[in-house]
Every structure is written in C-alpha cells, then in structure tokens.
Symmetry: C2
Subunit: 304 residues, 2 copies
Amino acid sequence: MSIAGRPQAVMSNPRADRVKEVARLAGRPVRLKRRLFLAEGPQAVREALTAHRQRAAAGQAPVVAEVYATEACLDRMPELADLAATVPLRLATDEVLAAMADTVSPQGILAVCHFLDQPLDQVLRSGPRLLAVLVRVQDPGNAGTVLRAADSAGADALVLTNSSVDIYNPKAVRSTAGSLFHLPVVTGQDVDALLPALRAQGITLLAADGYGSVDLDVLQDHSALRRLGGNPGAGLDGSLPALEETSAWLFGNEAQGLSNQELAAADYRVAVPVYGQAESLNVSTAATVCLYASARAQRRRENQ
Amino acid sequence: MSIAGRPQAVMSNPRADRVKEVARLAGRPVRLKRRLFLAEGPQAVREALTAHRQRAAAGQAPVVAEVYATEACLDRMPELADLAATVPLRLATDEVLAAMADTVSPQGILAVCHFLDQPLDQVLRSGPRLLAVLVRVQDPGNAGTVLRAADSAGADALVLTNSSVDIYNPKAVRSTAGSLFHLPVVTGQDVDALLPALRAQGITLLAADGYGSVDLDVLQDHSALRRLGGNPGAGLDGSLPALEETSAWLFGNEAQGLSNQELAAADYRVAVPVYGQAESLNVSTAATVCLYASARAQRRRENQ
C-alpha cells in the first residue's frame, strides 16, 4: 500500500504513545490545552477535509491536523484518500483506531482537527441574520443536534455560553453529522456580556420559553400575512417582533430552561405551542421549530 | 416507614431473584414475552402513574404493574407515593434500584409497566387526523424523541413498523420524557399492509423525503393563504396536498430514508427545505418540522 506513491508502515500497536496521545482528546482539559478534537468516521472526516480544502483555498487556518485510516477504508472510499492528499495521513489497524476513538468503531477513519470556533466580533462583523444561542445546555447530543438543525435552517452561527457543554465533546461532534464544519461556532461566552453585545448590533433577542407570552404561531401568521398579502382584518399587532428581522434565539438548560435574569435580558419571550399533552419540548425540538420559523420568514423575504 | 399505613421491609439485596427479574426487562425478548417494560426516574413514573389512574377511572387496562422506590425518594416527592396508592409499591435501596435499572441512576424510583400499544384498528376507529409513522427507524433515542415531538404537535398516534426499534427499549422510553404514556402507540406493523390500510381510511400518506418534489414551505404557504385569505394572485396549486387534511407522515431509516417501494406507496413525497449546508436532516428534526406544519394547519382550521 502506498499513499501518494510513497510506501508507508501501518501503525499496529494500540499501546503506542501516539495512539494514547490521540485517545486523550476524549477529555476536555486535553482538548482545551491542545485546541484539537476528534472527528470520527467517514462522514465527519469527509466534511472536515472538505472544509479544510475550502479554507486552504481561501488562505484560512487549517481544519485538519492529521488523519488516521485503515487501508481497507481508503480502498473502499478512495475519494477520502484524495481529499486527504494535503494533510498528514497515516495508516493504522482497526485495533489502533478503536484505541484512539471515543466510538466503539470509528469505521476505519478518524481525523484530529483544530478548534474551529471564531471570536464573537468576527461573526458579528459578517452581518448575521439568524443566530442560535445555547445557554447552559448540558447534553452533548442536544448541543450537536441543535447545531445540525441550525445548519439545516441556514442559521449564520451557533453561540455557546461558557456554562454550556463542550461542542468538541466526541458525542456532540457525532450528533452534528458534519454540521460543525459548516457554520461558524462561537464558544465560551459570558451570557451577561453576550446579550447586550448582540443587542448593540441591532439583533432582536428571542428567548424560547414555554411560559412566554408571545405565541410563535402568531408570529408566523403575522409573517405570512406580510408576505402573502392576507386580509388586514386579521389584524397585525405592532408590538410583536417580526420573524423577518435579524434575530438571535436563546435556548436554555434542558431541565431549568432560561433563568429569570436571562429571560429579562431578552427582548421577547416566545412560546412554541404544545398541542398535545407533552409537558415541555426537548431543546432540539424547540430549536428546530423556532429556527425554521425564522428561516421561512427571512428566506421568503429575500426571494420576493 | 409505612406505606398506606402498613409497615414494609426494604429490599436490600441487589442479587435477589426479584431484582434480576426486573433487570431482565432491559432485554427485548424478555419484554416481549412478559409484555412489560421499565419506566425509570420520577418524571417517567409520574406520567405512568397518572395514565394508570386516568385509565382505571375509565375502566381501561392497567398501565403500572408495580413500583420500586427508595424511602428518600418518596419522602422527597410524597405526591408520587399518593399517585402510587393503588399499585403495588415496594421499598428498595438505591443499590437495588441501580441493579434493576438500565440507567446508571434511576433517581430513586422505577415502575414496571404493561405494554401500552393498541391495535391499528382501534386507533383508526378513533378518527385520527394526524399520525406519525416510523419505518425502519433504528435508534431508540430518535424513536423516543419523535414520539415526544408527535405528542407536542398533538398527533393522534405513533405507528412503528415491525422493522423499527422497540419503543419499549429503556433508552427510547427515556427519550419520550413521559410522552409514551400520552398518546396511542401502534407497533409491529407490516409496512406493505399498513399503507393501504391507512389510505383506505381516507388518510393522505405524506412521505418525508429529502429528494421529494413537493416543498413543505409551499404547502405551508398554501395553507396560510387558505386560512388567512391572502392574495389569490399568489396562486394555489390544486395538485398539491392540503396540510389541513387528515394525514400520516412517513419517516424512514436514519441512513437510507424510505425505500423506493415505500415512496411509491405514499401519495406525496414532501421535502423539508434545507437552507444551509447540511446534507440531510436528523429524523427527529424532520419529524418536528413536518408534524408542526400539519398541526399548525389543522389546529387553526378548528379555531376558525
């Protein structure tokens, strides 16, 4: 087996120092110190390498530090070997990959990636129209799923407060299904400084809150009326926020939601209606409904 | 400590036969044979006991077979002890509960519950307006999250095909956050028989399909136009399904989606728009967007 024409040894000792060094990225302190994290499996590595190539072309910082893969995996997916042509790629056995990875089976490939988060200023300078903010969200699967939903809804960035789960947690990375490499992520924000900074940019702060007085359905109807030219007799309430406007949605902790102080700092408290008997919405379900409502309103205005 | 005035011994041997018998419910074959499953933790047990009480009042089959709890848990949440007054309740140590449960810590309480699924005929006789159908969905967390989203959206039932994950899997039960006890569930359906049976009831079959030719946004606009009396110049396409009508949404396997045969058996193939770079939607994200779109359209008609 050769890569780019050069014969290469296959790493086969799962107890080698290099293997242990990669495996240590499962722990947050090591990740933070080295500013590296793991992307496991073909889909995540493909997205990482694609982002790496795009950023290299734009003269931006590298995404992928190194890739480890089995020969069988590269034979099966030669496009991955092509994509990895410009990064250090090492062959390893399945046993070595299993020892490196957080997943039981990384399916023959993993990438060590550089932290991707951007400073808040940089994201704000890009003129975002739709942001998702996670405040004290604790479950890595939820954080990853919200990031994937934010990507689907075309949000311009995901912002995490410093009390939220680490988005580079292997389970969070897996849950993003590659979306971590698609849109800017801002991490470690102090919520008390973040919310005024967003408002100072003219961004409307919408707190997703089961007890909110503003009904998301009403906001969607108003948006549809403006867009589709409906019967004005249905009545538009000027005191309500317009989903078409630049907004940041705030989503709180899974059990406690947003604190009273956080709710008070938002411009509006918006409730996603619950039509059935469910006591509350899963945070990723709520985020999906809210972000898609804004996306629908904003995109359609663009198309008109 | 006494329950209902009677002093009771505290189960303290995690290797006792009864403990092992409960723990075996973590396995599907044992669940299927005994038609029993585990609800773990205060929230799930509260929902189970509430459903039990409601059904008892309506002369329906029991939901809860027995409850195991620590004294500390019942002292902390006396309403749970009250709710459990009509079911066998046994005191146990934390160690015993941990040995019974699938979770690391069931937080002091768990219930052994009877299977809840209903025959398809019974659900169809109740005149459902909105159904969610899981076809070969494999991840228990996804199935549970879709059930919770279906509950939030006020769907009338969740239907699972025989190739789908077991909704009584402990992880699935946890992901429902109690919604398993809120709306009817139909399990073990053969998809080839199910789809014609639904259509024979006048239910429109909407396949959620990333490659679908019908755009969910367009369906929502049409629904809004009908509801809000918008500009007819915007144009209504009579060949498209109306979200207000009685519908069943079909959601496919996480990796493969729906098969060509399943897509062909549906009335329409509807795509949830992806505004960002995400390759695809998580099945629970897609289900949330689709079910909420139908719920909005249907509920608003009721209110007019």
